[in-house]
């Protein structure tokens, strides 16, 4: 029943000045009811994609489909797409009620029905009783909720959110993340969400499209993205990452031997770089490396602790390991590891399957 290609970008290019492509040959399918996040550094083209979907920018080349219809020629106000803007874009001269009633009024929905819808939307963001307030009288979080309610009040099939939580402080941002996620789960609307904050993306999304340089680098579920990044940009961008640059000297089956620039050799999991002689950047998540491993691990190396950084629930170690002076290790904050001191030599072990040989940087 659900349409797997509810939103479809087909070979979309976008250039603003005719010299540079901001979006390059983008292909992207979004299923109905999905929560997809476009994640990427600023200037990676993610907001441009959102604006093209909303109708405020025209694709230079290619087509965008919404529910199997080409939408390039439909003006924004006829697309019926809800949108939450970065700075909320609440109408400052209207009350909360009038803000929410605006999309209903332009659709000529009768007043009693509109009242019901407004009430429903406000209850969704738990803001009943705020109808008569002006936006300026609300806190940032409340304004944000009004903006979310307004984008949903006319029952759009698709809601776009452009870094909606960027202006909120950390705690509020976290609770709003859950709130938006729950709203999405309860009404089943398709959401396309743009952010540069990876935690936000990991928390909320069904799937994440990592943008860089006008292209989608990887489109997959949060855990897939974190555990199995397909290239070194994604590995670097999502979560913490330790890297070793080197060259594959032996590739056999599901393991390969990488000779690092420092001269030592490690075993890795060939993902991008697979054949002998290829340059590679090996990526390893900090939590996959263990100090003094008790079980057998196929990589075991000695390193020197350069710095100990206390983080409350865990301690972070910066270790000089195999020529990488910024190798990060996370140690859970339990009492049995009180011997960690600066300058100590330790043995660090990890499994080659967690150590992914990706494209060289």
């Amino acid at each position: 029943m659900a349409n797997d290609q509810f939103v479809r970008f087909e070979n979309v290019d976008k250039s603003y000045d005719g010299k540079q492509l901001v979006v390059k040959g983008l292909d992207l399918d979004i299923a109905e009811g999905e929560f997809v996040t476009m994640l990427g550094p600023s200037g990676s083209g993610k907001t441009t994609c959102l604006m093209m979907l909303a109708g405020f920018e025209t694709p230079t080349n290619g087509q965008i489909y919404l529910d199997n219809k080409v939408i390039s020629d439909i003006p924004p106000h006829k697309r019926g797409i809800g949108m939450v803007f970065q700075n909320y874009a609440l109408f400052p001269h209207m009350t909360v009620y009038e803000n929410l009633a605006f999309p209903l009024r332009v659709r000529k929905i009768p007043k009693d029905e509109a009242d019901k819808k407004v009430d429903k939307a406000l209850s969704m963001v738990s803001l009943q009783g705020f109808e008569a307030r002006m936006p300026m009288q609300l806190s940032g979080g409340q304004q944000q909720r009004v903006a979310v309610a307004r984008s949903l009040v006319f029952d759009p099939q698709l809601v776009l959110m452009d870094e909606p939580l960027g202006a909120l402080d950390k705690n509020l941002r976290e609770s709003m993340q859950y709130e938006i996620k729950h709203i999405h789960e309860s009404i089943g609307v398709t959401v396309v969400y743009v952010t540069h904050d990876q935690t936000e993306a990991l928390t909320m999304s069904n799937r994440i499209a990592v943008f860089n340089d006008g292209k989608v680098q990887q489109l997959s579920s949060p855990d897939e993205l974190y555990e199995r990044p397909v290239n070194s940009f994604v590995a670097e961008f999502i979560g913490e990452n330790n890297t070793f640059a080197g060259e594959i000297i032996d590739a056999s089956g599901d393991k390969c031997k990488v000779k690092l620039n420092s001269g030592s050799e490690i075993l890795a999991n060939p993902i991008v770089a697979k054949s002998k002689g290829e340059k590679t950047t090996v990526s390893l998540r900090p939590e996959r490396a263990i100090i003094d491993p008790e079980t057998q691990m196929d990589n075991n190396h000695k390193g020197k602790i350069e710095e100990v950084i206390y983080h409350g629930d865990h301690t972070r170690l910066r270790v000089d390991l195999l020529g990488n002076k910024d190798f990060i290790l996370k140690v859970p904050n339990s009492s049995n590891r009180m011997d960690i001191k600066e300058g100590r030599e330790i043995t660090i072990g990890w499994n080659s399957i967690d150590c992914r040989a990706l494209d060289p940087k």
Partner: protein
């Protein structure tokens, strides 16, 4: 419930020690403000006060003819007054003649009633031949108008120290002999026309400025920096040019053999021998004033539009509003503070505009300010000029008040 007094750490009441600590800063602030305050007082408050005062001040004649007025006070105004009045008049006039200052009263009394000019002149000329006693007969012998009660009533009417006669004149009214307020003769009713024309011109100039400035300001507020700077310079350039130069260039452009008329003829809108008059009438005033006052509309509008986030219009569209509805319901209401400020500014400037109407307005395009200038410079009736100025001031305050009632003055944004 009485509040406990809070002491600072050295035992002095907190309020007192705060005052002491702040005293030096307060003194500094006062000293910094003082020069400006004095400056304002001298160049702003005094002149306006003086203007208000002049417009109702009618003491000159009372001062110059003190004995006459003392005597005429008791006169009933019906039959001819008795000897004391004429005696007082003789003594006053004699004093004035010796000091050669009687010219002033001639003008003043002639406003009251025409005919006084020759009457006083003739009387003064013959004053030396007067003998002591029986002045009444001698006055009447010099000029028989002295036997007509109207002239003496007019003299008596000039007696009060304070008078709002100038204000009546400003709305085409006057006192008649019995001090009733009546309209002046039909062929002399010019001020009502002038006022209406002034308001009319100010209204249309404001409207034209608004229509022209709104899109310009929007462009200024939304264009990328490098273009908007250039456009801003174009808007401000007139500010850096002398007002006279700008007005004269309009005279060059608008004259009958000028380029605009040439263009009209070339386009075939008018025949060569029937070129439209674009200058020395209201058309010229409209065109030149609109151009000159345009920046005063653009700047407040621009400063307000600059603060309106472009995402608001996008939000309006994404919520289903057509561009027109989004503009009317979202953008336009948000620009009202700028519209109010701009319109108020332009209207107030236009209502008192002088140079441009004087140069391009001609007779049918001259405004109340030209009349004020005329009475300041030519007729030397400063009291009347002051009265017109005061009426203008009150009018502007009234507009301000109405605006405050309608839109709210805190809803105004000048930049």
């Amino acid at each position: 419930m009485s509040k406990e007094q809070i002491l600072s750490s050295d035992g002095i009441p907190l309020e007192q020690s705060l005052k002491k600590a702040e005293r030096k800063n307060k003194l500094k602030a006062v000293l910094l403000v003082a020069p400006l305050f004095l400056f304002l007082l001298i160049i702003y408050v005094f002149p306006i006060g003086d203007m208000l005062f002049r417009s109702v001040d009618d003491r000159m004649i009372t001062k110059m003819l003190p004995k006459t007025f003392k005597a005429i006070e008791n006169w009933d105004g019906q039959n001819l007054p008795d000897e004391t009045v004429y005696k007082g008049l003789y003594e006053d006039l004699k004093f004035l003649k010796e000091n050669k200052t009687y010219g002033k009263i001639i003008a003043r009394l002639n406003y009251e009633k025409s005919g006084f000019s020759s009457l006083i002149k003739k009387t003064v000329r013959k004053l030396d031949k007067f003998e002591e006693g029986n002045y009444k007969e001698q006055f009447i012998k010099v000029h028989k108008r002295w036997s007509q009660p109207e002239y003496l009533v007019a003299l008596k009417n000039a007696a009060p120290n304070w008078s709002y006669a100038k204000y009546l004149k400003g709305i085409d009214m006057r006192f008649d002999q019995d001090r009733n307020i009546v309209l002046v003769e039909e062929d002399r009713r010019i001020y009502k026309i002038l006022w209406m024309r002034t308001l009319n011109v100010a209204f249309w100039v404001t409207l034209f400025c608004f229509i022209l400035a709104y899109p310009i300001s929007h462009l200024l507020a939304t264009l990328p920096m490098k273009y908007s700077n250039l456009l801003m310079i174009c808007v401000l350039l007139p500010f850096w040019t002398s007002l006279l130069v700008r007005t004269s260039s309009w005279m060059v452009l608008l004259q009958q053999q000028g380029p605009i008329n040439d263009l009209i003829v070339w386009l075939g809108i008018a025949a060569d021998d029937n070129r439209p008059e674009l200058m020395y009438n209201v058309v010229g005033t409209f065109v030149a004033m609109t151009q000159i006052l345009l920046p005063f509309m653009v700047l407040p509008l621009y400063s307000v539009m600059k603060t309106i986030s472009p995402s608001l219009m996008r939000a309006g569209k994404s919520l289903g509003g057509t561009p027109l509805i989004s503009f009317l319901k979202i953008y336009f209401p948000l620009t009202i503070p700028g519209i109010g400020a701009g319109c108020l500014l332009v209207f107030i400037l236009a209502i008192g505009y002088y140079i441009t109407p004087a140069l391009v307005g001609g007779a049918s395009g001259s405004l109340i300010s030209n009349s004020i200038a005329y009475h300041m410079k030519s007729s030397l009736d400063w009291a009347f000029a002051s009265a017109l100025g005061t009426m203008l001031l009150v009018g502007v305050l009234a507009i301000y008040w109405v605006y405050n009632k309608l839109v709210g003055i805190d809803n105004i944004k000048l930049g």
